[in-house]
């Protein structure tokens, strides 16, 4: 296949390409010329492995504009100071309109540039300075600018301020990078957005703010009392919200002005001229006023997402676009017939492309842990309405079809499956999977609605509005449900729980006493004592992460400030607070993301069986082998891999341990409280953190060495270790309760593309999904690309640019991930369903 010449490739028809399952070539031949141009025009912003692609440069205009205004406003309350700085950026940053495009808005001055927010984390600022390849030419001049910026922000950023008040032991251990990742600030975060509120239009929001301010000012003219005092702080916050909303409207109008200029002075093609005038009309209308048609609703939506990212690094994109835009599609395509289906598909496809092109600098740990993408932009599709009825609509189908045409790796979709989903919609999901996109991931809606009610007490009608927060976690899009700041630093490297239980809390990789001293395992008398040490290490690891992020959360309005997000948050507008202030009525929706989780169950099972039950090896022998990183102990290592029970084979010996671990964590999750006094359940999943942490987790009793990739999923069996077939995997995963034993559980499955071809393939998959739903699992996602294609792509990456794979929680273009990650995906077991 990889040997074909370009000439024979041209000669192949779409049908022939489909028969060969070369879906990327099918897409290139069937999408419109406009989509083809726009798709190929995108500068790749996700890092390739840990590095940015050639030609990608950091945008220095944004931080310079921001900093110059910020310095001018020194002394203002932080939200006001920031609002002025953001407005200055929005008024002055260069904007552009790409040929053939219809949806406007980009974060940065030019399509090949990525941005960063200098106010967030000085360590990242320094990392940018040190980064290879992204410094704009002339390099010497750029380095001067960067050094000046860094000298100013050093010690002044949100994280610098937080690090000064954190317990120093917590700060050092957290920033060792060994136990978790993320930043305890909304400088690097993401937020849920309630479009039923936002689509009122910014002028309506401004009027609402004005009303609140007048009401408050009147109160302040009254009798002095302690109740009046907090009102003084609200006024500058509302003023800040006004400043950014007005600047946002001006920003949109800059696009309108440019589109009109192009139509009047540059464009000779009458069709494009008409498009440019429509763009101008659209950008004059939104976001100031409510949208009236599909182009306006998509444009409004995209402006909001872009503006939010001018304020901070929003590294995920919680959204339910079929639900938000469905009524506008219906009006334009079905009722008023203002657009044909093809024209609508061009807009929907471009919506995916405009999202895909967004780039924001990420530190190396995030690039390694999210290889190939800027952030986990998982859009939610399907599901139910607040009354429980099916929410799927024509837009659900349009997004699925557009995804197969443009084949972007960001956004991807998570589909809320429920028993009322129509077959035509389910077929669309399957077609995307069959075309090798790796998405949509399938989510069990009834289970997750119940889960959301169980853990946080969201009312069921609100729980039914849920959207994915990044990869996996549901959160309602309601006034008190919306989550303004993801607790990203509560992402745990769970394999350290078992590693620390073995090493008395000491971390041999980073040379530091991390966890509590739970004793030398050589002295433990039985497995229960060992398990007790594991529980203590688990509690310590969760505690330090949750403590750090709880403090970061309450201090965020003081240290960072979110004027734009606050302006589009109903509860923040109503109360004159920062959207991230947990005292404004938010119910709380916190969770600990559990990377590298399954190693615990497999390692515990190996220890229980070989050391305590069968006494085949002593703990001393095991520790010797582990301390040598298994070097010189290969036969013993293979024994631990092949002959100890492994998760995912419907074997109660190890499955019971997995359930026991999950229940210990769930107990502890209710003891940890977020600032809204709600719970912190565990959510096992990995993105590509299993590759990032491969270099940070030492040898383990499941047979891995330092450097080996960790298991890929949240509850996926180890690659190649699920020997008993797909039903055994599902049965193991069905042994715990997906409502009460944790937040959500990521399961990767690899299926054979040849087996699942044709109608028979669809029916087989549907039967598999029935078993999955009957067993009450909350998540599953699929890779359906064969080995030969993936190996050919490794060999000749240029020819396979649009081959996509599911990593874990997100999809990436195969050529954009490191060789180790590629190999890890190929190692996964291909499950036969028939």
């Amino acid at each position: 296949m990889g040997q074909r010449t370009a000439q024979t490739e041209k000669a192949l028809s779409v049908d022939e390409l489909a028969n060969r399952r070369e879906w990327w070539s099918v897409a290139q031949k069937t999408r419109s010329k406009r989509l083809d141009y726009l798709r190929k025009g995108v500068w790749k912003k996700g890092a390739i492995g840990g590095n940015y692609a050639p030609g990608i440069k950091i945008d220095l205009t944004l931080p310079q504009l921001f900093t110059e205004k910020w310095q001018e406003q020194e002394g203002e309350p932080i939200m006001l100071q920031k609002a002025h700085a953001i407005a200055h950026v929005l008024d002055n940053i260069p904007i552009f309109i790409t040929d053939r495009s219809q949806i406007m808005g980009y974060i940065g001055s030019a399509p090949h540039q990525i941005v960063w927010h200098w106010q967030g984390i000085s360590m990242v600022n320094e990392e940018i300075y040190n980064e290879e390849g992204i410094i704009p030419e002339p390099e010497e001049e750029s380095l001067e600018i960067l050094a000046t910026l860094n000298d100013y922000w050093g010690g002044r950023t949100a994280v610098d301020k937080l690090a000064r008040i954190l317990d120093p032991e917590d700060a050092v251990k957290f920033m060792s990078g060994a136990i978790g990742w993320g930043t305890p600030t909304s400088a690097a975060t993401y937020s849920t957005k309630d479009f039923t509120y936002i689509f009122k239009g910014f002028e309506a929001l401004l009027a609402e703010i004005e009303e609140r301010m007048e009401e408050t000012e009147q109160k302040l003219q009254g009798n002095p009392s302690p109740q009046l005092l907090p009102l003084y702080d609200k006024l500058p916050r509302w003023e800040a919200m006004q400043i950014v909303l007005e600047a946002s409207i001006r920003y949109a109008k800059r696009y309108a002005r440019l589109a009109r200029t192009l139509a009047e002075h540059f464009e000779s093609d009458p069709t494009r001229k008409e498009e440019l005038l429509r763009i101008a009309e659209t950008c004059e209308r939104v976001p100031a006023k409510p949208p009236r048609n599909l182009q306006e609703s998509l444009q409004f939506d995209h402006f909001v997402q872009v503006l939010a990212r001018y304020e901070t690094f929003e590294g995920a994109w919680p959204h339910r676009p079929d639900y938000v835009h469905g009524p506008y599609y219906d009006k334009d395509v079905n009722q008023e017939k203002r657009l044909t289906k093809e024209e609508a598909l061009d807009l929907v496809g471009e919506h995916l492309i405009r999202t895909y092109e967004v780039g924001i600098f990420a530190p190396k740990w995030a690039r390694e842990g999210l290889q190939g993408i800027t952030g986990t932009w998982v859009w939610t599709m399907g599901g139910v309405k607040p009354d429980g009825s099916d929410a799927c609509n024509d837009m659900t189908i349009a997004y699925m079809q557009a995804a197969r045409l443009v084949r972007v790796s960001n956004p991807t979709f998570g589909f809320r499956w429920h028993p009322k989903v129509k077959d035509e919609v389910l077929r669309e999901c399957f077609e995307c999977i069959r075309h090798g996109l790796g998405y949509p991931s399938m989510r069990n809606d009834p289970v997750l609605v119940a889960n959301t009610v169980h853990w946080y007490g969201h009312p069921v009608e609100e729980a039914r509005t849920w959207v994915h927060q990044a990869c996996m976690s549901p959160c309602p899009t309601t006034k008190y449900g919306c989550q303004p700041m993801r607790m990203a630093s509560a992402t745990a490297n769970c394999a350290k729980m078992i590693e620390y239980a073995l090493h008395d809390g000491y971390d041999p990789v980073v040379n530091m006493q991390m966890g509590p001293k739970t004793g030398d395992p050589r002295q433990f008398k039985d497995f229960e004592e060992f398990f007790g040490a594991w529980v203590k290490q688990m509690e310590w690891l969760r505690n330090i992460l949750v403590r750090t992020v709880n403090l970061g959360r309450v201090k965020d309005p003081e240290f960072f400030g979110r004027p734009f997000l606050s302006a589009i948050y109903e509860r923040a507008v109503e109360t004159g607070t920062d959207a991230c202030d947990p005292s404004n009525g938010e119910r709380g929706n916190a969770w600990v993301t559990g990377f590298t989780w399954v190693e615990n169950a497999d390692s515990l099972a190996a220890i229980k069986k070989f050391v305590y039950d069968e006494k085949k090896y002593t703990m001393d022998q095991l520790m010797e082998a582990l301390n040598a990183n298994w070097v010189g102990y290969e036969e013993m290592r293979l024994d631990f891999v092949k002959n100890a029970p492994k998760w995912g084979n419907d074997d109660d010996y190890v499955d019971d341990l997995m359930v026991r671990c999950l229940r210990e964590v769930s107990r502890h999750a209710k003891e940890n409280k977020c600032p809204s006094n709600n719970n912190w359940p565990l959510l096992p999943e990995n993105v590509s953190g299993n590759i990032h942490y491969a270099n940070l987790v030492g040898a383990l009793p499941n047979g891995r060495r330092l450097g080996d990739a960790l298991y890929d999923g949240g509850i996926s069996p180890g690659p190649g270790l699920d020997k008993k077939g797909p039903t055994a995997v599902l049965k193991s995963c069905g042994k715990f309760d997906h409502v009460t034993d944790g937040r959500a559980f990521l399961l990767n499955q690899r299926l054979s593309p040849t087996q699942l071809s044709g109608e028979k393939g669809y029916q087989l998959w549907k039967a598999y999904m029935k078993t999955w739903a009957d067993l009450g699992l909350d998540h599953v996602q699929f890779n359906m690309v064969d080995d030969a294609t993936l190996r050919a792509a490794q060999k000749d990456p240029e020819k396979y640019q649009e081959v996509i794979v599911r990593v874990a929680g997100y999809s990436a273009h195969f050529v954009d991930i490191s060789r180790k990650t590629q190999d890890n995906i190929i190692q996964r077991t291909v499950q036969g369903l028939g």
Partner: protein, 54 residues
């Protein structure tokens, strides 16, 4: 002294004549686009390498 308003790429703002957009055609290795940068009408353009007299 040449100022931005004398340049072919300059388009004045209707709501504020002291400001305008510098509109440039850019063809990069992947895509072609028009870029607008806000400039002051009277800004000195004598050192601007893209200046083209109207």
């Amino acid at each position: 002294m040449a100022t931005c308003k004398d340049c072919k790429s300059f388009f004045a703002r209707e709501d504020d004549r002291s400001q305008g957009d510098c509109v440039m055609r850019v063809v990069d290795p992947r895509q072609a686009y028009y870029q607008a940068t806000p400039v002051e009408t009277e800004k000195d353009a004598s050192k601007c390498s893209s200046f083209q007299k109207k």
